[in-house]
Every structure is written in C-alpha cells, then in structure tokens.
C-alpha cells in the first residue's frame, strides 16, 4: 500500500530483505536479512567480498533477480515523486509489486536505473547503441522517435562521447571499453532517475578510464541530483565517492555508517578486519597486512547465528552462534549488527 512520507524520510529503505535461490543441491541464501537506508542525493557505497550478496541485493531492488531466485521476505520501500509532477511524494514497497507488472516497469529504468560491470556484453551486439538508448527514452517518455534520438545524442554528448551524432549508429563492439561504459551511463540517465545503481561500474576498466568514469558519475550526480548506490569491492573507490557505506557479509549488511565513521571508527569486527587487510598510503614500511582468518563458507552451508562468527576474533560462545544479531543504532546514521553492541 502506498503511504505518504515526510520529506526527511529516506529515498530507499530496505527492511529484512531475503532473496533465496532454491536449487536441487540446496537453498542458496544469497541475501538473508538485509537492512539498508539511502537518502536522496546520497552516494551509498556497498562493499563486501565476492558472493556476499551485493549484486543480488541490487537486482532484488530492481526486481530482476534471475530464476530460481525469489524474494521470500522483506520490504523495499522506494519513494516516488507525486504523479503529474506535483509536490509531495509517496513510497511503494517494491517487494510487493509484480516483477513484470506495469508499475514496476514504470519505475525500472525511469526512476531506478542500473549500470553494471561488463561494458563489453551489456549492450546487445546486433543493435546500434542509439537504438538501445532511444528505446529506453521512448519507453518512459511520450515523445517521438526523432525527438528521442536528439535527446540520446544530447545525453551521449553530456557523458563525453565525441561526435555523438555518428557514434549513436555504431554497434557496441565498435566502441572502446570506456566509451561503452559512458554510453551505458547515458542510457541509464536518459530518463533522469532518482536512484542510479552502479554494480561494479569500473571493475573491468583500466585505472585511467576508471578515474574518468567515476569523475563523470560524480559530475552528473551534482547536475541531476540523483542518488547513487555504488556496489564495489574496492575500498579506494568507496573512500573517493561515497557519503555512506554499507558493509555486507554473507547476505547481510553488518554495518552501515557515514563514510568517515566507517574508515575511522569501524564498529563491526568484520569491518575492522576488512580495513586491516588493505594497504595504507602512510603505513610504516615493513608493516604486514593482516588477512582475515579463515575463508568464506560454502554457499549451501552458512553458519547459524551471526554469519561471521567462525572467523570473528571477538566471538562470544553461546551467543554469536545462536541467533543472528539485529541491527542497532550506535551513533548518528551509524547502524551495526553485532552482539558486542547489544
């Protein structure tokens, strides 16, 4: 049921989201009780090791989880501007919508847009780039093909594609990796979304291009005022881009806080271990990096209780291995799921 929100309320609020993959071999609990909050215009960095459920969370929000994946529980409240461009706004629970229904489809691509890792294969190889951007524009805005094409060219120019009126008719494989990711951003932003989900947008790019793309995203965010959910395993990118950070481990958000709090006052043992495992610029020479003890458990065999307890240095026997800890506020916008703070 839509409900009216105060203006200070978040743009996106994920409550106890669970997305499971039922397979013959067992159930993979890819997302297992995620809590997330995002404010308008903010940049939320989502970090975690491979397989911790970052991408599945993103796809759950967009309701494009591949079969046999299914949202089994939880709420995804997303704030939509009022119809007819009027003032005010209301929130809908995306988890309750029909994945391919009209309402979800009018949100997907128009209000929440996605860009992701493989710039190589995220465009269809047999349709021109322009065809795919124009398609997105015409789907959500009632304008003609010619006008949509003009807007696509304009978008391509904004993301820094040179001679966009020629590039628009090219196939994706005729563009370089960096250009392809720019075109992807152009397509994602062509309908002025309020939330852009960027799933490892720079992983496949070389370092120089990576910096340019991140710079571009930041610039476009300032101009258009959308919020960005930046999914990455690169803490450097997070430090550079994010206003807030959510740390994920085994399908759960273990800690969410403003970026400074995460880097300077991490609370969760996993966050701390994570930060110890990366090299620092001003570290003393010969200082050793500390790897996190143990490794990520098998996906079919998640530990009971707090998922991190088998590797946790602060493990409390009889507590941590019983029930998973609930999220708890420990400071301003600082939330931790750990028994140390109960």
């Amino acid at each position: 049921m839509p409900r009216i929100l105060m203006d200070a309320e978040p743009l996106l609020s994920v409550r106890n989201l669970k997305t499971y993959f039922q397979q013959d071999e067992g159930t993979v609990k890819a997302v297992d009780g995620v809590y997330l909050d995002m404010n308008p215009r903010a940049t939320l960095g989502v970090v975690g090791e491979s397989g911790c459920g970052k991408s599945v969370t993103a796809r759950s929000i967009l309701r494009i989880v591949d079969r046999p994946g299914r949202i089994v529980e939880g709420e995804i409240w997303f704030r939509r501007p009022a119809a007819n461009g009027g003032p005010g706004s209301h929130a809908v629970d995306l988890a309750k919508l029909e994945p391919n229904g009209l309402q979800m489809r009018s949100i997907r691509g128009a209000e929440i847009a996605l860009i992701f890792q493989e710039p190589m294969s995220s465009f269809s190889p047999v349709h021109s780039v322009g065809n795919q951007i124009v398609e997105a524009i015409m789907l959500h805005q009632e304008i003609g093909r010619r006008e949509a094409r003009d807007r696509a060219i304009q978008m391509l120019r904004r993301v820094g594609v040179s001679s966009p009126d020629q590039r628009i008719d090219q196939l994706a494989h005729q563009l370089s990796g960096g250009l392809r990711q720019r075109a992807m951003i152009a397509m994602a932003l062509s309908c002025s979304p309020t939330l852009l989900i960027a799933d490892e947008p720079t992983t496949a790019l070389d370092v120089t291009t990576q910096t340019q793309i991140l710079e571009l995203m930041r610039q476009l965010q300032q101009e258009d005022g959308m919020a960005i959910m930046l999914i990455t395993h690169d803490l450097g990118v997070i430090a550079e881009m994010a206003t807030d950070v959510a740390v994920m481990y085994l399908g759960r958000v273990v800690e969410q806080a403003p970026v400074d709090a995460i880097f300077h006052a991490p609370k969760h043992p996993y966050t701390r271990a994570l930060l110890r495992s990366i090299p620092r610029m001003r570290a003393r020479s010969r200082e050793r990096l500390t790897p996190i003890a143990g490794s990520v458990p098998h996906p079919y065999d998640r530990p009971a209780g707090c998922p991190f307890h088998p590797r946790c240095p602060d493990f409390i026997a009889g507590t941590c291995d019983r029930e998973p800890p609930a999220p708890r506020a420990v400071g301003d916008r600082h939330i931790v799921s750990c028994f140390l703070y109960e």
Binding site: I107, R108, F116, S121, L171, M184
Partner: protein
C-alpha cells in the same frame, strides 16, 4: 559482406563440381559401358542397333577414351541441356524427370518452412519456461522425432490412415488431378496434400532445431545485455524477442545449410513409402534397372538444388547478422 558471399559462392561451385564427379562415378560404376547395355536393351526389345549407330554413340560419349575425356564430354552435353537418354523409358532423361524435380523442391522447401515455423516458437517456449511441463513435453517429442526414422514414421502414418480412416494419405494429388495440366484447382490440391509429407520430413529436423534453439537461447538469456534490457523497464516478451531471440537466431539460421541436404535425402525414401511423384521413386527404379544416366542426372540435379538452397540460406544469414555484414568493411 561481398567477400563473404563470394567465398560461399566459390564453395558452392566447388561443391557442385564434387557432386558432378560423384554422379559421374555412379554412372560409370556398373560393369559394361553404356552403349553395350543400350544395344543389349534394344536387342531384348527386338530392334537392332547397327554397328554404325553404335560407333556414333561411342564417339558421342567418348567411350574407350580416358575417363577424364568421358567426364568432360558428359559435362559438355549437360551444359548444352542434354542429360542423356533413359534406357528404361527410352526417352530423354529431361523428359522423364519432367515436373518431378520441381515437386521434389516443393516438398523439401515446405518441410523446411514447417521445421522453422514449428521449431522457432517451441524452442523459445522451452528455453523461457525451462523445466516446465511444456518444456519436458517438447523435449520428449523431440527425442521421438530424432529416434524414429522418417520412412518408418511415414509407414506408421500410412498404416494408421489406412486402418482408422480407410484413407490413403500418400501422394501429392488426388487421383483425378494426377495427370491434369496445372490449374488453380491442381495447386490447391497440392497444398492440401503437402502437410503430411512435410510434417514427416520435417519432424527430425524440427526436433533438432528445437534443441538448438533452446540451448542457444538458454545461453543468451544469461548474458548481461538481457539484464540491461530488463533494467530499462521493457516488458518481458519484448525483452526476449528483441534481444536474446534475435541473437539465438544466428546459430539457428546457420544450421539451415545442414538441414536442407538432410531433408532432401529423407524425401527420397519418404516419397517411396508415400508414393509421392517426386524424383525419389524414379531414382530407385533407375538404380535397380541400372538406368545410369537417369540415376546420375537425378543425383546431380538434387545436389545442385541443395547447394543453391544452402547458398540462399547463407545470404539470408548475412542479411540478419550485422556482424558478418560488417566483417570485411
């Protein structure tokens, strides 16, 4: 693109040449030369071939000369439109074959079209609804289609038609139109008779194409560009038809080149069982009575038809896949 088509055309010419060699081998295989058999045949009919006539025939076909000269003379005659003389029918081969060749083409092409019309939607359905009841049913029917040789299928259908409906399901024309000149009524009659042979011939191909389409589409459905299309907010049918199906069509289309020879091969035996007036029964008769010019010509013409069909499908493939189109530009 032109270079690609050029390459395919060159290969087609080579193929025709190889087929002509093989057809020539078939003509040459039976013991004794053509003229001796001809004389013997004539003698058995009570007419005498004079030595002079025999000598002329020997020169015409280059008999007694090296084999490549004979081949060359045969090719030259074919280029002039003379495919030789059928001993069995005592008429020129072209006359004997007559419209049968075109009916063969009609049967093969309709089987091919049916294969596509059936395999495309079923394959898409099977992939999109993987592991659904429909998918399992399609897989099962597919396995049956692959396992039952088409002439046996023809036999079974013929038997069922005969015993259950007391109807003869064979043939391409109703008896009264069998030898009638072409008219709208005859064309309509042909269309009415076509579905059963087309289905029998096309079933194995359809089964195979469903498997190919299903496998290709399952591969494509996992590709990131599908996620992109979905994340735009396109409706699911549009996502699937515009992107992954479009991609899966290419390997699907490229199998047409192997399907056509298969269908033409099958049409020979199925025509025999169903009594279709194609070149199939004619070929068998010619082979059994060692009427080799007729047999060789049929093999050659079937081969050429198939090669032309394959070439057309290659060109269609270029037209639908821009990656090949752009390859050489």
């Amino acid at each position: 693109m032109l270079a690609y088509i050029g390459r395919r055309a060159l290969l087609a010419i080579f193929t025709v040449w190889a087929i002509s060699m093989l057809a020539f081998v078939i003509i040459q295989l039976p013991p004794g030369d053509y003229v001796s058999s001809y004389i013997a045949q004539m003698a058995s009919m009570g007419s005498v071939v004079t030595d002079e006539e025999a000598q002329n025939l020997r020169i015409q076909y280059g008999l007694g000369q090296p084999i490549y000269v004979q081949y060359w003379k045969w090719m030259k005659q074919i280029a002039e439109g003379n495919f030789g003389f059928s001993m069995e029918w005592r008429r020129p081969v072209t006359e004997v074959i007559g419209e049968r060749l075109w009916l063969t083409v009609v049967v093969a092409v309709s089987a091919l079209l049916l294969t596509w019309v059936l395999a495309l939607p079923i394959g898409i359905y099977s992939a999109v609804r993987q592991y659904s009841i429909g998918d399992y049913a399609a897989t099962f029917v597919g396995f049956i289609g692959l396992a039952v040789p088409n002439f046996l299928l023809a036999l079974v259908l013929l038997y069922l038609g005969f015993t259950l409906f007391n109807a003869h399901i064979g043939g391409l024309f109703s008896p009264e139109l069998q030898d009638a000149p072409w008219s709208l009524a005859r064309v309509w009659d042909l269309l009415k008779h076509l579905p059963i042979p087309a289905l029998i011939l096309g079933l194995a191909g359809t089964a195979q194409q469903i498997r190919i389409m299903r496998a290709n589409l399952l591969d494509e459905l996992r590709k990131p560009y599908v996620v992109t299309a979905r994340s735009k907010g396109l409706s699911e049918p549009r996502v699937i038809v515009k992107y992954p199906v479009r991609m899966a069509l290419n390997p699907f289309a490229s199998t047409i080149g192997y399907t056509l020879p298969y269908i033409v091969s099958g049409s020979i035996i199925v025509s025999l069982v169903l009594g279709l007036p194609t070149v199939g029964p004619l070929l068998l008769k010619a082979l059994i009575s060692q009427d080799m010019f007729l047999a060789g010509t049929i093999v050659l013409l079937l081969g050429i038809m198939t090669v032309i069909g394959t070439l057309i499908s290659d060109i269609v493939l270029v037209w639908i896949d821009p990656r090949i189109r752009l390859e050489d530009t």
